[in-house]
Amino acid sequence: MPDAAAVLDATGVAKRFGAVVALKNASLQVAAGQVVALMGANGAGKSTFVKILTGVLKPDAGHVKIKGRDSTVASPAGARKWGLVPVYQEPSLIPDLSVADNLRLADTAIEPFRHWVAELGLPGLAPDAMIRSLPLASLRIVDLARALALEPAVLLLDELTAALPTDLVDRVLKVVRAQADGGRSVIYVSHRFNEIAAICDRATVLRDGLTVGDVKIEPGIEERIVEMMLGGAVAAAVSAERPVKPIPSETPRLRVRSLKTGTRLTDVSFDLHQGEVLGVVALEGQGQDELFDTLAGNRKPSAGTVQVDGAPKTFAHPADAIAAGLTLVPGDRAHALLMSRSVRENIAVPLLARVRNWGAIRMRDEAAKVDKAIDTLQIDTRALGEVRRLSGGNQQKVTIARWIAKGVQTLLLFDPTRGIDIRTKRQIYALVRDLADQGAAVLFYTSELAEIRLACDRAVVIFNGRVVDVIDARDADEATLMRAAYGLTEKAPA
């Protein structure tokens, strides 16, 4: 229903970052009195589109009009003046100032703010409370109330209900719907179909940087939206048949029970067996990074247990996790590598970490281990002097090689193939299989659903803080995984 009456009208928006095309041709129309959901799978270009809509980024092509006026040249402050107010996933409040000071900074009147805070279910919030001292859920309410107090023509809500308790979610949804019923417009970015069904009029779906659909919300629309997000990927997912191992009955290498950690994971349980590659499937921002950080000893869980080979473990430091055989390849290579140091030094760090290895390095021994790891991973050895000079794929191999040299027991791979070339990706799948065949256990989070079939034996699906499904790799076509990741097939965890 794109029409002249659209309050916000984005058409033909394109954006590239260097060689990467984030958006090819995205469009979105929102009329007065409407709540429009903006949806898309991981990597569809949703966050780039949101940044362009809110004036953070300038598009390479296309235009964004708010009430008929071009806003693409604007800054975030400009977009706000035009009447578009965003509420982001991470609260944009200054932690060391009070609530009232934050309002003053953003030129927000306090009376309407109070009204909205009460309306949203936090009547007791003190304006002189420090932002730092408030729980995340309250911050999101403060952020939303601040946005509402500005009486925006268009309200953009980005994953608003993540990390909110259920009772607050209900109030928030009511308030958002009431905004639209009062004649304003809302863009609702979300992964949650039940919320979209409850308050949205339409959904605009992005895939690979294109707007591929604009549908009216009605019962049963979920399946169609999932299809749109998948596009032709379903057929492409068919891969060579690989025998899937039966789950062994002995004590699992890693047993996680009722783990609560970070801001999003509330109750995660699964088993990872020796010789198994267990995939982890989750939409962006479901807390998967916090799960991996916790298992690697880099973050303390707030509840739940972790057992390694049947023995309960608590990790106060990554060194504790490493001692228990749990080793992490983090999602961001910049967090893992010594960019200014050589490949050899990067790979050898874990060998030297403990005090008893602080003395003379057995150079020949080290060289043998490092060379073997370089060999196993086929790291391009032309630029060994500084890791920063390696390609992304080779850098990723170095982060994995580190643990190969140390000896792999349980490998935690967080999106190891993101942003690397297809040849390296294949090498990594093969390596992961080899490691598992040699008796390692691998936990493998990937943002590319097609990889589950290529590399894993089973996959656990995390949604809304819990494991909502466990899927055998044989059945893990993209459509099944996508439906599960959106919480559409929820069943009790195995």
Binding site: P318, A319, I322, A323, H335, L337, L338, A360, I361, R402
Partner: protein, 324 residues
């Protein structure tokens, strides 16, 4: 010198500084010596060379503290104070309790200051700059209290320190007998020991080192204690060289020790550099000082010039080596 030609030759020189840091440094040293020889014909001699080495060695040893701490992205500004305290305690306690106990107490105090630095930086996560300046201030206070209440019967400088600090054998200063093994050990340790590698690892990316299982606090605690010990030993050597104990003996070496490490190519942001360059940096600074002295500028002017030269050379070298 191609230093000031064009931006491109500047950056090429910078690349050279990063890849082969010793070559341009030695070039600069030779150039300075040549200038010195032109300004003062006849000044160069075996005696002059020995003297320059003798003066450069305590500076180079304190600069080892800066090099090691800077590799992790830290700094130790208490080294001058630690060296001073170590020298003062040795000189004033030796007549009272004998030389070996005096030196033991002097070095023990150096260890304590190093441990306090290490504890503050490793466990309380105080920034090294603040922590080491703070302990230096406190330690100086203790030294003043000591000087006021411990009635010194006199000052005795142990003979072997005099031999080490001022003596010569075959025309070369005896302090080389301490310095050469010391330098070899540091250069070996930075490349071939687990501890040395971890200094680079922490400086290059502390979070990555942690994820690799390094307990960073253990490294920091050991590092700053080691730095204290080196400064303490340097104080003993310096006592033998200066032959007098004062309350500000080695304090003027604080800034030059940092400058020597920076000129020597060690990054103040950590992860890059090494002790080889630092030694040449200390020699460069010593030759510069000689040059200023021989130019017969009054003390005030000399200090102003020396400070300006240290700042501009350091700024230039940081500009050359940190661009990437």
């Amino acid at each position: 010198m191609t230093l000031t030609d064009t931006p491109s030759s500047l950056s090429r020189f910078g690349r050279l500084m990063v890849d082969r840091p010793l070559l341009p440094l030695i070039g600069l040293l030779v150039l300075l010596i040549a200038v010195l020889a032109i300004l003062n014909p006849g000044v160069l001699s075996m005696f002059w060379a020995g003297n320059t080495l003798k003066i450069a060695i305590p500076l180079a040893m304190l600069a080892a503290c800066q090099t090691l701490t800077m590799l992790t992205g830290g700094i130790d500004l208490s080294v001058g104070t630690v060296a001073t305290i170590s020298a003062y305690l040795t000189a004033t306690l030796a007549p009272l309790i004998g030389v070996p106990p005096a030196i033991a107490i002097a070095l023990a105090s150096a260890v304590v200051i190093g441990l306090v630095n290490g504890f503050g930086i490793a466990v309380c996560r105080v920034h090294p700059l603040i922590m080491t300046l703070g302990t230096a201030l406190i330690a100086t206070g203790f030294l003043l209290v000591y000087q006021r209440y411990v009635i010194a019967t006199g000052v005795q400088i142990p003979d072997f320190l005099l031999w080490l600090g001022t003596g010569r054998s075959f025309g070369l200063p005896n302090s080389l007998a301490l310095f050469i093994p010391f330098a070899v050990l540091i250069i070996w340790a930075q490349r071939r020991s687990g501890f040395g590698r971890l200094l680079y690892a922490i400086g290059a990316n502390e979070a990555a080192a942690r994820l690799s299982g390094v307990r960073v606090w253990q490294v920091h605690l050991t590092l700053y204690t080691l730095s204290g010990v080196i400064a303490g030993v340097t104080g003993l050597l310096y006592l033998g060289q200066i032959k007098t104990a004062s309350l500000s003996l080695a304090l003027p070496l604080d800034l030059p020790s940092v400058a020597a490490a920076v000129i020597g190519g060690t990054s103040i942001f950590g992860g890059r550099g090494g002790y080889g360059g630092t030694i040449v940096g200390a020699l460069i600074l010593t030759v510069l000082t000689t040059m200023l002295t021989l130019m017969q500028i009054p003390e005030g002017g000399r200090r102003i010039l020396f400070g300006l030269i240290i700042l501009s050379v350091t700024a230039l070298f940081i500009r050359l080596t940190e661009r990437n």
